[in-house]
Symmetry: C2
Subunit: 259 residues, 2 copies
Amino acid sequence: MSSKHITAAMLIIGNEVLSGRTQDKNLAFVGNALGEIGIDMKEVRIVADEEDEIIGAVNALREKYTYVFTSGGIGPTHDDITADCIAAAFGVKLEMHPLATQLLEAHYEAQGIEFNAARARMARIPQGASLIDNPVSTAPGFRIGNVHVMAGVPKIMQAMMENILPTLEGGEKLASVTITAQVPEGSIAEAMEELQSQHPEVNIGLYPFYGADGAGVSVVARGRDLRALAKVKEAVETQFTAMGMALIERPPPHEMLKG
Amino acid sequence: MSSKHITAAMLIIGNEVLSGRTQDKNLAFVGNALGEIGIDMKEVRIVADEEDEIIGAVNALREKYTYVFTSGGIGPTHDDITADCIAAAFGVKLEMHPLATQLLEAHYEAQGIEFNAARARMARIPQGASLIDNPVSTAPGFRIGNVHVMAGVPKIMQAMMENILPTLEGGEKLASVTITAQVPEGSIAEAMEELQSQHPEVNIGLYPFYGADGAGVSVVARGRDLRALAKVKEAVETQFTAMGMALIERPPPHEMLKG
């Protein structure tokens, strides 16, 4: 890789995701949005609403990756403990933030809803953090060091992420090509391994699927060298054609994971 | 908690999940299935198809939790490196397993498909591991120590999980009640915090949602003490009723995460 490699990790906070009751939708949004600006999502952790777990994970991830994004646990209720944990992880105080307080007060006043002690909790921001605007429901996220703390509700998380993106240093975008055919992955495995060894600068992944017409595979080649990527694409297409396999223009939805 | 606390972690292996291209569906299945037999999913990590990352995560998780479940990376292609990594994590050799080899050979012979070197890779099992049956596509998963290694394709992963479940030591099942009303979570936050402090043996979580009728909240109480759970349920219902808020019988789908 010629250019600077910029990495990210995500920390999803919430018992409901772990128990299988709630399906996370935030990772897909964040992973795609970062990919568009050349930042590679390298690791995700999902932890319970427990102080030690959140602090431990934040500290491990912020040490290892360029950026960290968290979702969940910044609402007004007693089980929203993310801000407390982030402050503890950075060893700073959690304080009432004047601007956040003002924004929330005005927001609830305009709606005729009481700005009570629970709602005021959402103005508690770690010392030294900057606010992330929340155009949906006002209660802000915040950024401290390389850690971006966002809400868990997808609509709010997405709006916050849109505000964060312009502030990030992007990298060279990873380009990808996908070639799909109705052939079992085991039939092209050796050829693809050979191809991978010829093009170490390209990452070649094989993703099997099982459709109405039997087993098939999508070969996904990713890299930053467009010429090498074009060569790999051509080689894969030549391989499929030599086997008498027609290419499938629209690959099936990527609902399967690796073999 | 009176009975033994049995915990689990999941390790999802795959670049495609991290990039946001593929939506993981395995966590929800595993989390729910374990919850049914009283095993608490405590942590999930998603890592790339990279040796160091997989080995590091497996070793961290198997040390900390009763059981570990992995999905992805046990197919026939060069980017399927999970078996190699698990062997390295346990410091044992990866060997051709006689029964796995025999099963795969017979499977491909019956279909008239060549049992080539790539397909033989799927018979490589860490020394000392036992096989996990794969009724969908034959290539087995395996268990070594407290780690269960499964395929990433959801249909295969689910079949493997069904075979694993009877071999696990379950705990006392966590019961839960959900009470939903069309009220913003900030309006009941203080009452719920008070209720939580009165019932430390119950875990009370608040999950906001935004529907056509505005903001609402589901209060989810979880615990192993059914009497305490019933008391919490009654208290929450009384609280909502006192606020003049009708309970919603069918809560909206849990698509949101924590505030």
